[in-house]
Amino acid sequence: MAHFEKSNGIVDWLDQRLAIKKFMQVMMTQYWIPKKINFLWAMGVILLTMFAILFITGLLLVMYYKPDVALAFDSVNKTIMQEVEYGWLWRHMHGVAASVVFLVMYIHLLTGIYYGSYKKGREIIWISGMVLFVLFSAEAFSGYMLPWGQMSYWAAMVITNLFGGIPFIGPELVEWIRGDYAVGDATLNRFFMLHVCLLPIVVIAFVAIHFYALRFPHVNNEIAEEIDFDLEAEKYLAGKKKEAKVISFWPDFLCKDIFYVCLFMIFYFYLVCFHYDFAMDPINFEPANALKTPPHIYPEWYFLWSYEILRGFSYEVGLACFGIAQVIFFVLPFLDRSNVVAPAHKRGAFFVWFWLLVIDMIVLTIYGKLPPVGINNTIATIASVTFLALLIVVLPVITLMERKAK
């Protein structure tokens, strides 16, 4: 058996058993962050905060929620909203957080693209981040179903129907996923299981992988400078804090992050208190009805762009393009053929490409919400083709040219 000394206090006692001092060094005090980074790098910590809020409010909600088609609607709209003390607050916090978490995620994602943080050495960070995005999408969707309102029901109907487009096994697969001939009790319960158990566990695992992956190539910076972290850390530890290009995550860096988290919280609670309804579709306050479709079905704002790509083409082609749009960002590190790591404004054509992509996604989002009639359909098709072309054709070409120019 290993040798244990008589400890001189609780910290030492724990340190001998769990090596907490070493752990703190790796996670906090000797985890090095470049100095030259701006507020866009605070999104990670904001996301972590949002996730914690979602988790805690979710625990409170699940104590009263009933996953049963006969009870679900009332358990949310009556019990939680009117009877449970502060139930309305937890619900609105949960709903708003679920929505703004996507806003922050999109900013986080676009920051990564703008500064080239997905490139050489950081591919795993990027890919694990994209996995998290997909997991969050599944989490958001399965949660959206639970109140069992009209939009919940029909969203579930449409999304499960998408699997029917898979060749050969489609129709059987749809029935199997639903556990019934149509979306029903079995479907609600399995989505409940996904939302409160399986997906959160997987999300937490991937958050851990995402953070772990960050420890090796380290975080990128505003000017995409390649930093020798060991060297700079030495300077920092030797007391030349001014000279060193890095600072420690804790306590130096986190104060700045916490400041941005506070700013964000003002925005978040403003929404929770005054505009909680922006995350709640009015149609969803009508109980689910299997025999009546709402006149116009659309997803929450954060899925509109990919929904619009689905609608932009005829059925099979739309389904295929939708599938591609879901996974295309995963392979971004491999579509970008240039090995220049630099912010977009130093890369000319890439800069133009970046903003075209952003504008195109905004157009897709706006038109995704509009009913698919007349000119809207044409715009949908053009914007969808543009989106795919930008990623599959234009990006590799631009970056190939960049490589040649060097």
Partner: protein, 166 residues
């Protein structure tokens, strides 16, 4: 020694693989629809009270079923169901695009899906918009003027032969 070790490893791997396959089969079956769900899959509808040109919606396996008694001025189709001396359109009322319920516009004699603007004619054939195929025909059998949904009768098999040739 080494071969004994590898033999143990091999046995362990094989046992795990067999166990894994059985587990997967069990899990797949857990997700299948329950027997009670499957048993409730039959619905009988009496067609005689329908008036010419009238649309009736009934529920079968939680899906809406459109039953339209065709009036003489409506297009005849080889997918029509003939019971007694009348022709009916019997289709699952879910758009073949993404599963919304189309509404019947009796003036224009068409089913219009509001979701993405799909249109079907009185026989359930897709005319325009994104729906890739006609409205589906549920399995049925005919017993006098009664329609039994969920049971495969010879009339159904007859019609399914026509589908695609239409």
């Amino acid at each position: 020694m080494a071969s004994r070790r590898s033999f143990m490893g091999f046995t362990l791997g094989a046992a795990a693989a067999v166990g894994g396959v059985f587990t997967l089969v069990g899990m797949k079956k857990t997700w299948d629809p329950l027997p009670s769900v499957k048993a409730a899959g039959f619905t009988t509808v009496d067609l005689s009270p329908l008036a010419d040109g009238e649309l009736r919606t009934v529920e079968w396996r939680k899906k809406p079923i459109f039953i339209l008694k065709k009036s003489s001025d409506m297009e005849q189709s080889n997918t029509d169901i003939i019971a007694g001396d009348a022709r009916y359109t019997v289709v699952i009322g879910l758009c073949t695009h993404l599963g919304c319920i189309p509404a019947y516009h009796s003036a224009d004699k068409e089913f219009v899906c509001a979701c993405h603007g799909g249109k079907f004619n009185v026989s359930g054939k897709n005319m325009s918009g994104p729906p890739p195929k006609p409205l589906e025909i549920p399995p049925f059998s005919i017993d006098g003027t009664k329609l039994v949904l969920g049971e495969i009768g010879k009339e159904y098999e007859e019609i399914m032969k026509n589908v695609g040739k239409a």
